[in-house]
């Protein structure tokens, strides 16, 4: 008898604990999932944490963050999971637009609102290029997007460079992973806004450093041995620019004893590291891709869509790409000091 009593007590208390949970699942907060391209990628990690912060602002949004670990197979798995778990709203940061496009479409087909962010997934990612820019540059049917415009971002540095880079200059170019939308678009912007305008400039070397610090460093270390002075480092992100700059930090041909560089360097992203290098005078300029802003925008659209105020396919917005340079870098550094990435005492 005693045992039976004990057992029933356990069952009862278990039921009491579980009851509110099941009730919540039925009518509680909206379940939103953010699928990041990787957790080991500086920007993706930053975006993930900003997403979490932004979601806290909304009581009725419960955000789950997962990561594709920069692997298309893992991305596919995570995207399929989103359908299985019946989320109310899915935000996707693709690793490889074309590879993820069918899975993103599957989510949309399953009737779940899906928004692609940094980068946008286009119709051309699904169907292939048609050659008609209007069709190719359209956001994929049945999805929305919140993004930073890669062309606008890269144009910031490219337009400055037109004025700054000396005549007949020799430059090197560091590219992001091949097939990555932002990597390719940023590179195209450099063609449009810089190389097409300045045909006196020679590209000494150009190679893929896959957004990575150490790969860019190894390339730059060797390229400077080539004998011709490199007048400008043109990098598709700040990470690679930083690696390239580290490669010449102790090279007096590039940085004089007093710390003045004999080269220009352009990045994109406006990371903490980029800001520190601008402060040091080694990075000329970068454009901020503000993860905080992208995240905030994403969440505000999510709230509207979930409350039925707008249709998710209407979500189509781009954040600004403000320029960071020696004149305004301090205010951006303050942002990073505030979030702990830069410590004031070490400045």
């Amino acid at each position: 008898m005693k045992n039976w009593k004990a057992l029933s007590a356990v069952v009862l208390s278990a039921a009491m604990v579980l009851a509110p949970v099941t009730a919540l699942a039925e009518e509680g907060p909206y379940r939103v999932c953010f699928v990041a391209r990787a957790s080991a990628d500086t920007f993706a990690a930053w975006l993930t944490s900003e997403m979490q912060k932004a979601a806290e602002e909304y009581d009725d949004i419960e955000l789950t963050c997962v990561s594709g670990e920069a692997d298309d197979a893992e991305m596919a798995k995570q995207l399929e999971n989103c359908i299985t778990k019946q989320y109310d709203y899915v935000i996707v940061q693709s690793n490889n637009n074309a590879a993820q496009a069918p899975y993103v479409k599957a989510i949309a087909d399953a009737g779940i609102p899906v928004v692609t962010t940094n980068p946008t997934t286009h119709q051309a990612d699904l169907d292939g290029e048609t050659g008609d820019p209007e069709v190719d540059n359209a956001v994929m049917e049945g999805t929305g997007t919140v993004d930073a415009d890669p062309v606008a971002q890269a144009a910031v540095g490219a337009q400055r460079a037109v004025e700054e880079v000396p005549e007949n200059a020799n430059v090197v170019v560091f590219r992001g992973p091949s097939g990555n939308y932002h990597a390719e678009k940023r590179r195209e912007a450099w063609d449009t806004y810089f190389f097409d305008v300045r045909d006196d400039v020679t590209i000494l070397y150009e190679d893929y450093a896959n957004w990575n610090n150490d790969e860019a460093m190894a390339l730059m270390e060797t390229w400077v041995q080539g004998g011709t002075h490199i007048d400008a480092i043109i990098s598709m992100n700040d990470n690679m620019a930083a690696g390239a700059i580290e490669a010449v930090r102790n090279n007096t041909d590039y940085i004089a004893e007093d710390g003045t560089p004999s080269f220009l360097a352009y990045g994109v992203d406006g990371t903490a590291q980029g800001c520190l290098l601008i402060k040091e005078g080694l990075l000329t300029a970068t454009a901020l891709q503000d993860a905080g802003e992208i995240a905030a925008l994403n969440m505000s659209y999510a709230e509207k869509v979930l409350h039925g105020e707008m249709d998710y396919t209407e979500v189509n917005d781009y954040v600004d790409a403000p320029e960071i340079n020696a004149d305004n870098v301090d205010e951006f550094i303050q942002i990073y000091v505030a979030n702990g990435e830069i410590s004031e005492s070490d400045l």
Binding site: A40, D41, A44, D207, D214, M217, Q225, G226
Partner: protein, 325 residues
């Protein structure tokens, strides 16, 4: 008779011949290759890779391997960097790097030695665990503003980079271990025939633990140098570096079936790969093409090495018969 002696030498030093051929070819391909700056540059770039190659060689010679070394390097590196940032003590930062490297590898060793888990599996698990901890600890963001820590990777003593000096010292130590200690002999015996080594009174488990401890120290040191060179604590750095280490060791004549391998061979292997990457970057070969050429040349170099060694063995068998006459 003289020519056959010469050919024996040729076979014995085949990997060095590949290295020299490579060197000559490189100097013809680019006028900048031979400059002192460039050679020093190659040496500096190879530092981290050579440390990992020693680690892998120690393990492969005794019949094991370590797939976790790239991740452990990153974990040891970021923890070391953040120790430096909070204490400003280089000594403490290095102690942390070594301690983390050794701790991870002691776990590897427990599974490999005590539970007989294949090293491939045990260290594959550690690869994920260590990387995960590194990312969790940093939240995926790079640690910046390293201050004096960068000296470890970027500093110079006279005209020689600090990491090159460190690696030279380590090379002497590892060479000594292999050639002048009982531990070195034990490794060759365990890798050559573990059962025979045990039957000859060698404590294989103890030696496995020592090996992984040494590998841990090398991984920690490599982590510290890696972060210092990049002037940031990069939790997602050094992905796939275990392959860099393995490749250098194997190209340098370390046999995957165990029991065979030399420190100098491994150095040669590392330089073959280093020269190859350097010359391709110097003459501006696209990195995708580089990957194709590198893969092909590595296989060819190893094939050449194996072929000449095989011939040597046949010769020795014949020599025994000869003497019997």
């Amino acid at each position: 008779m003289k020519s056959s002696k010469a050919s024996t030498y040729l076979q014995r030093f085949s990997i060095y011949i590949v290295l020299i051929a490579m060197f000559v070819a490189c100097s013809l391909l680019s006028p900048y290759f031979l400059s002192a700056n460039n050679l020093m540059n190659v040496a500096r770039q190879l530092c981290v890779g050579i440390l990992l190659a020693y680690a892998e060689m120690i393990l492969i010679v005794s019949g094991f391997l370590d797939l976790s070394i790239g991740s452990v390097l990153a974990l040891a590196g970021v923890l070391s960097v953040s120790t430096f940032k909070s204490t400003h003590s280089m000594l403490l930062a290095l102690v942390v790097a070594f301690a983390v490297g050794v701790a991870c590898n002691m776990i590897n060793a427990v599974f490999v030695a005590q539970f007989d888990v294949p090293a491939f599996i045990a260290t594959l698990g550690m690869q994920q665990v260590a990387r995960g901890i590194a990312l969790y600890y940093t939240g995926g963001a790079n640690i910046l503003q390293l201050g004096k820590y960068v000296k470890l990777g970027q500093g110079m003593v006279g005209k020689v980079p600090v990491p090159v000096i460190i690696v030279l010292c380590i090379t002497v130590v590892v060479w000594y271990l292999f050639n002048h200690t009982r531990y070195g002999r034990n490794l060759y015996a365990i890798g050559g025939n573990r059962k025979a080594a045990e039957a000859s009174g060698i404590d294989t488990r103890k030696n496995i633990f020592i090996s992984y401890a040494i590998v841990g120290v090398l991984a920690g040191l490599a982590g510290a140098i890696f972060m210092a060179r990049n002037n940031s604590g990069i939790p997602n750095g050094a992905v796939g570096y275990e392959m860099t280490g393995l490749t250098a060791a194997i190209v340098g004549g370390t046999s995957f079936s165990g029991g065979v391998g030399t420190v100098m061979g491994t150095v040669a292997g590392a330089f073959i790969i280093g020269f190859l990457e350097n010359i391709m970057n110097l003459i501006g070969v696209n990195s995708y093409i580089q990957s194709i050429i590198e893969g092909a040349i590595i296989v060819l170099a190893v094939a050449f090495d194996i072929r000449s060694k095989n011939r040597k063995t046949t010769k020795q068998i014949m020599a025994v018969k000869d003497e019997k006459k």
